[in-house]
């Protein structure tokens, strides 16, 4: 089920020394344990169900240097950090290393804790124990294992109970060109206390061409009655490999809205695991993945309803062109006892080129009573009736296609409240389309 531990990727990562002791015994133990599992299990192959459509053979053949000693000095174009409608606290990492000079941590609003993990571990590490002492037991979690073994930095973000932050918090992970292909890691722990409110903007950006391997693991706790708006803009370098795992837990009456844009990267994998553990919790996920060229973008969304009257709605879109491949798996489980839950999941996809491919798989398992559930997935071309309608009004075929394709992608942004950010993201989506130049002015 796994590649031999002698693969160049494994050999290079295991050759790197363990990170220096954190001074926290349980953390050092978790690092050793996960590293041992990674060494024993290696990378999953396509016989592992969760990796069926994402072969790792080519990645496994590449060695990566661990850590970037020069990360603190690498020049980063500040324009990649700027986002319209986003002007608040900011934490920036370059090749996994915290960059105080690029971050904005002065005068944090009351109730907000925002610091790099490396600093947080110098203080009381105990609040991080639940997240950081985990041992990943599945071979499908190979990247979470190496992340747990190797990550020395990341984000610690806490919003105190009752604090509703007016300004968005921005997290930026930059992959920067270096002398070699690097493996870098980030571990994020985010908590919203009871009744807290947070808008979180997570960016994956590129500074120069590179083909690094990055792993990011994040845990997000949304406390009782808390509200989270989480926007993820993934625009990594065209050669980069990016493997992320985001775990979300929603407590009673918590509400979370997630908007994900997957634009960049060569090999991109994002596992989203959400658990609705408190009654009346609500999760809305929206996302679009737009692989082109030879990109491979895989999203695995797993939502578990575990409490009464919980609601989830998910609407994802894929647009693939050239010889690119998109993968989407949406799995919803309504666990025993989660009576009165309401789950909907949709994934619509457009293929713009004959060589492009999208594999989509919605799954629904219901073990509770009085549940409303709907799911559907389609892969197809543009609506011919709509195309004719536009043409009959004078819009030529190419711009009509561009207009409809842009609208198809933008639909996932409809319910994003920040208008300036929404317009900016919409423009990024349009620019990503192969027929961007055809868009009517």
């Amino acid at each position: 089920m796994s590649q031999p531990a002698s693969s160049p990727l494994l050999a290079s990562l295991l050759d790197a020394p363990l990170p220096p002791s954190s001074g926290v015994a349980w953390l050092d133990a978790a690092r050793r344990e996960n590293r041992a599992s990674f060494a024993a299990g290696g990378l999953p192959d396509t016989r592992v169900e969760a990796w069926k459509y994402t072969p790792l053979r080519a990645l496994g053949q590449r060695p990566f240097a661990s850590g970037d000693a020069a990360a603190g000095a690498r020049a980063v174009d500040p324009s990649i950090l700027a986002l319209p409608g986003v002007d608040g606290p900011r934490l920036v990492f370059v090749n996994g290393v915290f960059r105080a000079d690029l971050s904005a941590l002065d005068a944090l609003p009351a109730g907000l804790t925002l610091q790099p993990l490396s600093q947080a571990l110098e203080g009381d590490a105990q609040p991080l124990r639940f997240a950081l002492s985990r041992h990943y037991r599945e071979i499908g979690d190979a990247f979470a294992r190496i992340n747990a073994a190797s990550a020395v930095d990341g984000v610690v973000l806490r919003v105190a109970a009752g604090t509703r932050l007016a300004v968005p918090v921005q997290l930026v992970f930059v992959g920067a060109a270096a002398e070699a292909d690097l493996a870098w890691h980030a571990r994020n722990v985010i908590e919203l206390g009871e009744g807290a409110g947070l808008t979180l903007i997570e960016q994956h950006a590129a500074s120069g061409e590179q083909a690094h391997l990055a792993t990011l693991v994040g845990d997000i706790e949304v406390g009782e009655g808390a509200r989270l708006q989480h926007v993820v803009l993934q625009d990594a370098a065209v050669g980069a490999s990016l493997v992320r795992r985001s775990s979300l837990r929603l407590h009673a009456r918590a509400q979370a809205g997630l908007h994900v844009l997957e634009l960049g990267g060569a090999l991109v994998r994002h596992d989203i695991r959400a658990e609705l553990v408190g009654d009346d919790a609500r999760l809305d996920t929206r996302g679009v993945f737009m692989p082109h060229g030879r990109q491979h973008i895989d999203t695995q969304l797993a939502i578990r309803h575990q409490a009464l009257n919980t609601v989830s709605s998910s609407n994802w879109r894929g647009v693939a062109s050239d010889r690119a491949r998109g993968v989407f798996r949406g799995a919803i489980v309504v666990a025993p006892g989660a009576d009165g839950s309401d789950a909907s999941l949709g994934n619509k996809n457009l293929l713009l080129s004959p060589g492009a491919e999208i594999d989509t798989k919605p799954e629904l398992e219901i073990y509770a009573d009085e549940v409303k559930a709907a799911h559907g997935a389609t892969v197809g071309q543009l609506d011919e009736r709509a195309l004719f309608y536009l043409r009959s009004r004078g819009i030529a075929l190419a711009p009509a296609r561009a207009l409809l394709t842009g609208a198809f992608c933008r639909a996932v942004l409809d319910d994003l409240p920040n208008e300036a950010l929404r317009d900016h993201l919409a423009a990024l989506l349009i620019a990503q389309l192969p027929m961007a130049a055809e868009q009517p002015s």
Binding site: Y389, S392, L403
Partner: protein
């Protein structure tokens, strides 16, 4: 302006139009009436250039050009407008943006300058007044979530902005209550001009009470079987389509 001669057209291998001939001069309003399945909507779609409608014989000349040789967008730029029987919902495309893109695309083809957003807004405001369309409709996606009446009014509003020379209204009256019908008719009447012609395709004569045609034609089994003035519509209302055209076997045209 428009001359249709001996038009034969097939849809999915089935012949629907079987030798239809019709002439429309500038400024005239022609009503095409007929029973279901006679080919009324096929005529509108063939004239607008929809895919899947295969013309097997005959010709359509519009302002001395061969209309059938043009792509749908070129027909639009040349001044042909089809008000759809079932206007298409296009989620995610803003109504105003769509209409400006359409108008500017047409203007570009005609060698006219494109309108900037201020000029366009001014034009839209003028037209809104006539069409009983609320501002709010403009900010929504094209036809998305519109009621039947709103969709039809939106078609007429688009026509008002695009200012075609030949407007084909495909069952624009269907599915409208009497108030909506009057509003649509008022919009159409406001656009009547000596330079603009209308082809109104309808099943019922109801619309013709409000938009009085110059000519009425009966389309049955793929051709025009009888033509007359507005009194023909009243006759149809009274006697139905049965018996119409029996004494005029083929291709009578105005």
């Amino acid at each position: 302006m428009l001359k249709i001669e001996n038009l034969h057209a097939r849809v999915e291998g089935r012949e629907i139009l079987k030798g239809l001939s019709l002439s429309v001069d500038a400024g005239e309003v022609h009503a095409i009436m007929g029973p279901n399945g006679a080919g009324k909507s096929t005529l509108g779609n063939v004239l607008a250039g929809r895919d899947g409608y295969e013309v097997t014989a005959g010709s359509v000349t519009y302002n001395d050009i061969d209309l059938l040789s043009l792509a749908p967008e070129a027909r639009a730029a040349a001044g042909v407008f089809l008000a759809f029987q079932y206007p298409v919902e296009i989620p995610g495309v803003n109504n105003t943006y769509f209409l400006r893109a359409a108008l500017n695309a047409q203007r570009k083809v005609r060698g006219e300058s494109e309108l900037d957003s201020m000029q366009f807004l001014k034009l839209v405001r003028e037209k809104l007044k006539v069409m009983h369309i609320s501002d709010e409709l403009l900010h929504r996606a094209v036809n998305a979530g519109f009621s039947g009446g709103e969709k039809k009014r939106n078609e007429i509003f688009q026509m008002a902005v695009l200012q075609p020379q030949l407007a084909i209204l495909d069952e624009t009256d269907s599915g409208l209550d009497i108030d909506a019908l009057k509003q649509v008719a008022e919009g159409v009447n406001a656009l009547r001009s000596p330079a603009r012609s209308f082809l109104m395709i309808t099943h019922y004569q109801r619309l013709l009470d409000y938009v009085v045609p110059d000519f009425v034609h009966v389309l049955a089994d793929g051709r025009i079987v009888e033509s007359g003035d507005k009194s023909l519509a009243l006759k149809l209302e009274e006697h139905g389509y049965a018996g119409i055209g029996e004494s005029h076997p083929a291709g009578a045209a105005a």
